[in-house]
Symmetry: C2
Subunit: 247 residues, 2 copies
DNA sequence: CGAGCACTTGATCGCTTTCAATAGCTGTGG
DNA sequence: CCACAGCTATTGAAAGCGATCAAGTGCTCG
């Protein structure tokens, strides 16, 4: 379904995430500098990109595919703490070791920069630093919205919340209008959804079945989802139907 | 217990949060500029500083006291999504309306700047923008650590996690060595703790009683806590005893 | 065709919530 | 000075939701 992004192209002007990524506000000169130090890496679904505690010697943007940030307790309980979609930034300038695991949830292509040169570029080009601050603040908002989901919502509301977030981000990437049914493929396994939502995979499965029975969603196979009425889904998520802001 | 911070002083050099706040890396000139536009505001415990959705026309730092960020659902369920201690930054440059309520949990003093001049200062003085990025990244880490607490920990572990965070932040503010018992006053009601942890206040009360019975903590009155063995507490929190990083 | 994997569904268990009563403290007014 | 309201906190009993344990289904791939 997802078209494979050609790794060998080098022209930032053609880049599909150009307008949303950390380089969004760069001018032609800055872009040229970035172009000089960037390189692409691809990862297969399931591969771990960075282990928690590892030294991080690169940063980068997700070009295509989905990555996830997860924390794991000693006894194996794991919680996903971030879902990185195309254009999202990976890595932390100014810190050496990674605070959580970064995994490729699907096949993944990243546009990478070695950390040192990127940090230098950041201090010389305010556009990058400024954009990174905005993106970090957005991520902080998303993380806090997620805290409400984890702390206070029921299992059914959690599933509805996740579906509505995926639907919204998907719609915003594909630049669709927001009328009519929304159709997308779930990029996550039931287990990954459970790890995101603080549930077990059995509960995820049960609640998806329930939402399907109640016709809040339609399912074709296990992953292909149709949302006939986005307003209805957002009610189920416990969100205000209007005033929901696009992330 | 907490000494009242004198609101009428104007010298940033004497400021108790000088070395940790958004102005931490400013040089003498930058500090002087900030000093020109800053003003102090105090709030009483329980007062709402900013309502979700309100226009925000100022930003600032917590000088003394504790503020909290909370989200509320239509049916009244609330989740605290941030705990702001002295030196933490309030507000979001580049965004007009507040995404959550900000409340004074205790009596509070803030060092404020009108948003517009602050934003201008930010774009002209990289030290401030850089420090704000670092602080935002730290907050993002803290939010994600909290997602693990909310999503995967038991009630007992949640209480132990909260106590250990308060103990650590308290120790780092008062610059104490980390040997011997730790003593502090809980700055939160049982209800505020419940809102932070995604629990009910009854469960909070029960788990505190249980930790007390098991001598993980000692209680004098309702709020005065002694932690005889920090390692023990961190085990109860489900955290690795060593390698815990100071926030 | 059978192994392996993702997922579904059922039955039961247990933790946290819910509902409810009570204790302790502070401040107010007769 | 005591009675009482109002608040925070504790404790008990019962209910409910999601977890756990356990089969079983459907699909893909060798």
């Amino acid at each position: 379904m997802t078209p494979i992004f050609k790794i060998d192209h080098t022209n930032c002007g053609d880049c599909p995430i150009r307008h949303r990524a950390v380089c969004a506000h760069c001018d032609a000169n800055e872009l040229e500098e970035l172009e000089g130090i960037k390189y692409y890496r691809s990862f297969e679904a399931g591969q771990t990109i960075i282990w928690s505690g590892d030294q991080m010697n690169f940063v980068g943007s997700v070009v295509s595919g989905i990555a996830s940030l997860t924390q794991t307790m000693e006894d194996g309980r794991t919680q996903m703490v971030g879902l990185l979609l195309p254009s999202d930034f990976v890595g932390r300038p100014g810190r050496d070791s990674a605070p959580y695991d970064v995994q490729a949830t699907t096949d993944l292509v990243m546009c990478c920069f070695r950390k040192k040169p990127f940090e230098e570029l950041m201090s010389s080009t305010p556009h990058i630093a400024h954009r990174l601050l905005q993106m970090t603040l957005d991520e902080l908002d998303a993380a806090r919205e997620w805290m409400l989901v984890l702390g206070r919502k029921t299992a059914r509301e959690k599933i509805a919340s996740l579906l509505s977030i995926i639907a919204r981000r998907d719609a915003s990437i594909h630049q669709k209008g927001n009328s009519g049914p929304i159709v997308f493929d779930l990029p996550l396994t039931r287990e990954a959804m459970a790890d995101y939502l603080g549930l077990t995979l059995e509960t995820v499965s049960r609640q998806i079945s329930a939402l399907k029975k109640d016709e809040v969603i339609l399912l074709e196979g296990k992953r292909h989802v149709t949302i006939p009425d986005m307003g209805r889904l957002m009610e189920e998520a416990g969100d205000d139907t209007d005033g929901g802001f696009l992330v």
